[in-house]
Every structure is written in C-alpha cells, then in structure tokens.
C-alpha cells in the first residue's frame, strides 16, 4: 500500500511513459490523454493490490496495456482481432532480407513513426507492447489473450509490414537493403 503522496510522485514520474504507450496502442483514434488519466484512475482505485516490492512502472504499464487493448477490442466488433495463429505463422515465413537498418530508422524516423501508427491493430498492438514496453512474448501473449507463438508471428509480420511501408515499390532508397547499410 502506498500513500497519496507516493502515488502523486509515481504519477508525475510515469505519466509521459503511460501517455506514450497509450498513444502508440490507440493509434490516434481516441485521446491518449484521456486514456492516460483513466489508467491512473484505475491504478488509484486498485492501489491496494499493488505490490510495492516491484517497480511501479511495470505495474502501471500493465494496467495501461490492458486498458488500451480492451479499448481496441471494444472498438472492433469482430471477435477475432488477432486473426488465426496458423495463417499468421505461415505468412510470417516471408523473406527477411530487407531488415530495417538503424541508420534508416534514424534518418526517416518521422516516416517510420507514421508507418507504425498506421499498422493494422493486430500488428501494432503486439509490436508496441514488445518494443515500447520491452515485454517478453509471454507478457505480450497474456495481454492480448493469444498464444506465445501467435504473438511471435504477429510481431514478425508487423516488422515485415513496416519494411514494406518503408520500401517504395521501385526502391527509391537503396540504403534499405541490408548489403548497403
């Protein structure tokens, strides 16, 4: 159990981190600021269940992930937000010879951010959870309610989609190819 003052401190320290996660997960369809407020409100309500021996950041980011995934799920009427595991696994076996290089990511950061924001939800959610939160596949799978391999396949597919988005049809930017990076 933490005191009100502690919570206020945690709020100030983690607000931006939570806001960023909400922004990535919700993809601009809903106010990330509202979502962040809601996340902290939920945390405040559930403060009794917070294990003070563990980092607050992890706890609040888990609440934020669950909340945002819930929001996205509710937005989607279809029951199967994340597609079928088998199909995604087969699709994930595409070529990976054009991995995005660090240099490219830096030079075209704005473009890449936009590409992430416009990924379909089933790819954006696992990708952001894994790389923004630094969550393991197991944690991603738990947050999304899918299997671990399914999560891995979705992340792999997300990266493929990003590479495609960053590579115009006629390869205007040769630095994309790994050989030249």
């Amino acid at each position: 159990m933490t005191s009100e003052a502690d919570f206020a401190q945690h709020y100030r320290n983690n607000y931006r981190r939570v806001l960023g996660l909400c922004r990535h997960l919700l993809g601009g369809h809903q106010s990330a600021e509202d979502a962040a407020q809601e996340v902290f409100l939920r945390a405040h309500r559930a403060l009794a269940s917070y294990d003070t021996t563990r980092p607050f950041e992890g706890w609040i980011l888990t609440i934020a992930s669950n909340y945002c995934v819930d929001v996205v799920r509710r937005r989607r009427k279809e029951a199967q937000l994340f597609g079928s595991e088998g199909e995604e696994r087969i699709a994930a076996e595409a070529d990976d010879s054009d991995a995005l290089g660090e240099l490219l990511a830096q030079e075209r950061a704005a473009e890449l951010k936009a590409a992430i924001a416009s990924l379909p939800e089933r790819y954006r959610l696992p990708l952001v959870l894994a790389y923004y939160r630094d969550a393991s596949y197991d944690e991603v799978a738990a947050a999304l309610g899918i299997t671990r391999t399914h999560a891995g396949a979705l992340i792999c597919r997300a990266k493929q989609a990003l590479r495609r988005a960053m590579t115009p049809a006629h390869a205007e930017c040769p630095t994309l190819n790994k050989e030249t990076v």
């Binding site: 009100e4 003052a5 206020a8 709020y11 100030r12 607000y15 931006r16 981190r17 806001l19 960023g20 922004r23 990535h24 106010s31 600021e33 509202d34 407020q37 902290f40 409100l41 405040h44 309500r45 696994r89 994930a92 076996e93 595409a94 070529d95 990976d96 010879s97 991995a99 995005l100 290089g101 660090e102 490219l104 990511a105 830096q106 950061a109 890449l112 951010k113 992430i116 990708l127 952001v128 894994a130 790389y131 923004y132 630094d134 393991s136 596949y137 891995g152 396949a153 992340i155 792999c156 990266k159 990003l162 790994k178 990076v181």
Partner: protein, 542 residues
C-alpha cells in the same frame, strides 16, 4: 540460403531473444556455418534496436503533466458539503445585511435572467415542434434542388466548354431568385416598417409575420406567428395564434388556441376555438370574447370580462373579473375583485394575502364554493427577494441543475475539464471572443431567419446561443474550482471542482448591485472559452 536454414519467424524470435533454449542452441550451431543467416540475424538485431529506440524516442518528453484528478472520497464529499453550506450561510447573512438597499427589480433588467431565457427557449421549442417537420421537408427539397441544378448546368456546360463557371453561377442565381416560390410550408411577411395582410386577402399557409408593426386584416387558414412592436389581428385565423409584442390586440376570431404575450395584451370581441393563454403587464379579455376551452391570464393588472367555456386560471397583482366562467376559477393575486355581472359556474379559489383582498360585489355570483386561501408572509409590504426562503430554494435548485448539466458536459467533453486560461491577457481575449459571439450569434440567426430556408438554421443558431449562455457559467465555475484546488498533489475530481466553482459563481452573480455585472462578465468569459474550445477541436485556432 539453403533449405537447412531456420525460417524467418525463427530468426525473428531469436533476434528478440525469445527462442526456447534448445532451439536457440540449434540455431547458434547453424550460424557457425551459415554466413547468410548470421548477417540476417545481425540485421534483425539492429532493426530491433532501431525500433526500440525509435519508440522510446517517440515518448512525448515535452508534454506537460496535467494534474491528476483523484476520485472523490467520502471525506472530500463531506468537506465540500460543509463548505457549500458555510458559503451559503455567509452569503445569506451578507445578503440580509444589504437587503434593504436592493431594488429587487434590478434583476429583471439583466439580459441573462434565466427565467426569460427559459421562456424564450420554450417558445422556440414549441415553434420547432409545430412547424419543424414542414420546414425541414421544404428545406431538404430546396437543398437537393440547389445541388442538382448547378451540377446539371456544369455537366451541360462541360460539353460546350467555355464559360462553364458562368453557367453554374447563373443557375445558382436562378435558384436563389426562385427561393421564395418554393416555400410551401410558410408565408413569410417581413419588413422594417409595417407588415400587413390586407383585408380581403386569404392565406392558406402558416403565416410568419415580423416587423415594426404587424396588422393582419385578411384571413389566415393556417397558424399565425406574429412578432412586432405593435401587433393587431383583425382577420380570422383558423389555426393557432402565437404572438408577442409591446402592444398586442386580437379581435378577428381564432379557430385554435391563442398564445399572446406583451406589455399590453387586449383580446376584443371574438371567439377562440380552443384555449387562451396570455401574459403581460396589462391583460384585458374584453366583454364579448368567448373562449371555448380554458383561459389562463397572468399580468400586473388582469381583467376578464368575456366568457370562458371551461376553467379560468389567473394570476396577477390586481385581478378584476366581470365575465362568465362556466366552471371553476383559480386566482392568485394581491387583490381579486368580482364585479357584476360576473358569474362563476363552479368554485372560486382565491389565493390572497388577506381575507379583505377578495371582494365579491353584490350582483356577482359564484354558484359553487368560495375558497379563500390566505398565503402567509409579511402582509402588504414589498419584500426583498433576499429575505424570501423561496429565493434560496430556487438558487439551490438552479445550482443543482447547473451541477448535473455541468457533470454531463464535462463527462462528454473531457477537454472542457481542463480548459485553460493562462493569464489576464487570455481572460480578456476570451471575454472579447465571448462578447463577439454573444452579439454575433443572434444577428446571424436573425439574418438566417429572414431568408425562409434559413429558418431552421437560425433556430439552431439561437438554441446554440442560449445553450452557450447557460453553459458559460459552468465552464467558468470549473476553471475557478480547478484554480482553487490545484495543489502539488494534483487536482481533485472534476465533480468537486465543478461544485465548488458553481457555488462561488452563484453567490457572486446573486450579489446585490454588482451581481448582474459579474453575471455578464462570467457569461462572456465562459462563452469565449467555449467558442475557443470548439474552434480548437475543429482544427482552427482563434
């Protein structure tokens, strides 16, 4: 890449460090012998690092951390209640001390009087309900026509190439010229000076007449809505009559009901097919008037000399009755006088301050019972409103209503919870915007109403304007509440800040002498903030 190489999915999982130990070991063994796989794993790891740093970088480092709205605890609620009570008691004592010095009429002068706003809103709603569908239909038809004809003109002109633009413009002008012809639902009579429907003319539509003076001498087979300084209706109206003006005179006969308001309202020898509702400073229902249904008359001085088919409800300072009421009379007044040949078929219930204030002259008859309801209170003297319990009751009711509406508003429009006002300059700017909006919106609505098709738009604008005036207080209250309770630990729940702010605003705008000024300032400021908020939401910055 050979067929023995691991799949891209396996490589991706390995780069993320998510491969099971046994699989990872197998893959590492393969990497020793496969340069291509080694390079790809390297590229994937670089990609992972790039994405991670990019996402971390995307964290909005420069955004300000807004105050945390903590939920309302039981203690906070209790404190707030006590605070509100304390503020109320304090304000009441201040009011009582100043009560003698206050002319209670002052508040009638305020353009922001909620009662006046409410009645205006009600009559607007009534108007929309009775006429809205017909207006909407003709508006939609017109709009469709207005789109279709220029499109056709453009398509035609595209064949002939030159002057396509001119053809479209011409067709638009043609439509504009044809506008008044297309309005089936309405007959609009409007002018700066005298607006008339001359004797002998018969109009089959609903008539909306406005101007300095309106005289209806011809017959109207629909409803009649007349608004002017002087309204005179001598022709016969088959439907309802809705009218307002400084002086209103109706005498031609009405098939439906009459709703009339004005400083002086006179109903002369005629028949009203249904009910009569009238209010004004001086209301006279003259001898020879026959109301088939109920009649309700309210005013400073009210005289009812005509015949009422069912019940009469009347309220005012001085009531004089010489007419005939088939059933009951319910009268509220300082003085109530029945002069011959007054006759009441049923009971007379008179609400008066003292028994002497009801006078039934010899020759006037009441068949049923005469029931004198003596209302308590300081007899005779004009009481300052600040000494009346009802004033405080109503303020509390209004406060509660504003609070509930405010909660709804802030719940729906989250941004208004934190609508900012950085400094005095921003306050002045918001006030100026509010002033412009407060003046411009009714003007826009009026202009829209002049063009018949614009009437729905005009009414919507007016309703928005009235809503804005009402919600302005709420927005400012929320701002005050936030400023008041902001602390290092964040801001309390918006319900708390709203309630606290509303109490302050209500106390301030009800202060004697300066309250109405504060009311105007608060309204303009809030209206400006709402306009700013709405324009920012729609992507424009003022």
């Amino acid at each position: 890449m050979t067929t023995g190489c691991p799949s891209p999915l396996v490589r991706s999982m390995y780069a993320d460090g998510e491969l099971a130990a046994a699989e990872a070991a197998a893959l590492e063994a393969h990497l020793d012998s496969c340069v291509a796989c080694r390079e790809r794993i390297g590229a994937l790891s670089a990609e992972r690092a790039a994405l991670r740093s990019l996402l971390a970088d995307a964290e909005p480092a420069d955004v300000a951390v807004p105050g945390f709205e903590r939920p309302l605890g039981a203690r906070a609620v209790a404190l707030l209640g006590l605070g509100a009570l304390g503020a109320g008691v304090f304000a009441a004592s201040v009011w009582n001390a100043l009560a003698d010095a206050v002319p209670s009429e002052l508040h009638w002068l305020s353009p922001l009087d909620p009662g006046a706003l409410l009645s205006l809103l009600l009559s607007l709603v009534l108007f929309v309900i009775t006429e809205g569908i017909a207006m909407l239909t003709s508006t939609i038809e017109l709009a469709a026509l207005a789109v279709l004809v220029p499109l056709l003109a453009y398509a035609g002109a595209a064949f002939l190439k030159p002057r396509a633009g001119a053809a479209v413009l011409l067709s638009v002008l043609v439509i504009a010229a044809a506008l008044p012809l297309r309005s089936h639902a309405f007959e609009l009579r409007q002018s700066k000076g005298a607006t008339t429907v001359p004797a002998g003319e018969t109009i089959d539509d609903t008539v909306l007449a406005a101007g300095q003076t309106v005289s209806i001498d011809g017959d109207v087979n629909g409803d009649l809505i007349a608004i002017a300084r002087v309204v005179t209706i001598r022709g016969h109206v088959a439907g309802d009559v809705i009218t307002a003006g400084e002086t209103v005179e109706i005498q031609g006969g009405v098939g439906g009901s009459v709703y009339a308001a004005g400083r002086g309202v006179t109903i002369k020898q005629m028949r009203v097919g249904r009910n009569l509702y009238t209010a004004g400073r001086d209301v006279a229902v003259e001898a020879g008037v026959e109301v088939a249904g109920n009649a309700a008359a309210a005013g400073d001085s009210v005289s009812v000399d005509g015949k009422v088919g069912v019940d009469l409800l009347t309220a005012g300072n001085a009531l004089v009755m010489r007419g005939e009421v088939t059933r009951n009379v319910n009268a509220f007044g300082q003085t109530i006088t029945l002069l011959p040949p007054a006759s009441v078929g049923g009971n007379l219930v008179a609400h008066v301050r003292a028994a002497d204030n009801l006078q039934i002259a010899p020759g006037a008859t009441v068949r049923g019972n005469v029931d004198k309801q003596i209302s308590t209170g300081p007899p005779g003297a004009r009481v300052s409103k600040y000494l009346m319990t009802s004033f405080y009751t109503w303020q509390v009711v209004r406060l509660a209503a504003a609070f509930l509406i405010g909660l709804l508003l802030l719940w729906v429009f989250v941004g208004l919870r934190t609508a900012p006002l950085a400094d005095a300059g921003a306050g002045v700017k918001a006030g100026a915007i509010g002033l412009v909006a407060a003046i411009a919106l009714p003007v826009v609505a009026f202009i829209a109403c002049i063009t018949v098709v614009g009437i729905p738009l005009g009414i919507v604008t007016l309703i928005l304007w009235l809503l804005g005036l009402y919600l302005a207080k709420i927005v400012v209250a929320q701002l005050i509440g936030r400023k008041l309770f902001a602390s290092a630990h964040g801001v309390p729940h918006y319900a708390a800040t709203l309630l606290a702010g509303l109490v302050i605003v209500f106390v301030a705008i009800n202060l004697p002498w300066i309250g109405w000024l504060i009311g105007i300032a608060v309204t303009l400021l809030g209206l400006g903030m709402i306009v700013t908020y709405v324009s920012e939401r729609s992507g424009h910055t003022l």
